[in-house]
Amino acid sequence: MTANYHPSDLTIMRFAAGTLPAGPMLVVATHLSGCPFCRRRVATFEAAGGEILTEIRPAALSDGALERTLNRLDSSEPAPLASPSPQPASIDGFILPRTLNDCKVGPWRTVGPGVKLSRVTMPHAPAANVILLKVKANRRMPAHGHSDLEVTQVLKGSFSDAGNRYQPGDFVEGDDDTDHSPVIGSEGECISLAAIEGHVRFRGFFGRLLQPFIGL
């Protein structure tokens, strides 16, 4: 499963810098877990971060900070790391990427003909808008435009949008420059993981049906 579509340079940079919001960070991490090419891109930006650090004007710590730090070194030993949950997350028998292991995955809810949605809740960022979307073959996804950032990782099946075909492993990124009306491939249902930042404007009948479920 080699991806053909990857996160933008800016998104990879923000992931490496740790400044992406929690939702998009989860979707990018999911892409990275299957994409050695992008893991190298992240490593490149981590090196850039180290390089930029060496040239930043230092901020002074408060008086006695070093002493307090050294005192803590003597006293506090780190707690052992929590082991990751061994049980892979799944929904209706479909095994989800292990980046979702710590998340609460809600049940599929029908939000329109052939369109089901499940809410993904991250324990450390319960307000983040992360969803799984399952759409039947040949269906059109609700048409929408963005006001901020939307990222999608294809997990199963495929869809086409603006002349591109996205398959499992592919990452799709949209911002307010983009308008979407993706169509699902004929080979079967499509399941994707999406994080949405800011408000999404849905258009058309199904879009208006979907809006209250996503709550954006």
Binding site: D9, A17, G18, P21, M25, L26, A29, A43, G50
Partner: protein, 147 residues
């Protein structure tokens, strides 16, 4: 840390934690995988993410091991690439025009790079977006040239 919007108290707390972690984990530092600055950068970044998470949930902070960032072990090829990257990245950053280098530095630690930089430099959002995009594309070209 303060650049990425943390308060000075939080930044100091993270700085102290980072120093402790660098000390405790020095034995795990592997120069074959990353240079010292990259390693320290990654520790500080993971701590900042952990602190943000802690402030939003009751979950215990796990020592700069932000989930997802270490989701997979690197392959030998990746390790090789990572090590080579640092020399190349330094050279590529230096080869950028000063305007492009500046916009990358400015955007690196921002939570909302487009809108924050547009406000600071008093430029239209679209101009900032295209400048960042072009600077990053140029950086990518420079990195690929040296492969």
């Amino acid at each position: 840390m303060m650049r990425s919007g943390s308060s000075s108290e939080l930044a100091e707390e993270i700085a102290q934690e980072a120093m402790l972690l660098v000390w405790r984990k020095a034995a795990y530092f592997d120069p074959a995988r990353a240079g010292a600055m990259t390693w320290i950068f990654a520790i500080a970044r993971n701590l900042r993410i952990d602190f943000q998470r802690k402030s939003k949930s009751s979950k215990h902070v796990d020592e700069g091991e932000a989930d997802g960032l270490q989701a997979t072990e690197p392959t030998p090829e990746e390790i090789l690439f990572v090590r080579v990257d640092e020399e190349r990245v330094r050279a590529a950053l230096q080869a950028l025009s000063s305007e492009q280098e500046e916009i990358i530095r400015l955007s690196f630690f921002r939570d909302r790079p487009h809108s924050e930089i547009a406000r600071e430099l008093d430029l239209p959002l679209g101009t900032v977006k295209s400048r960042i995009r072009r600077a990053l594309a140029r950086l990518r070209d420079l990195l690929e040239e040296t492969l």
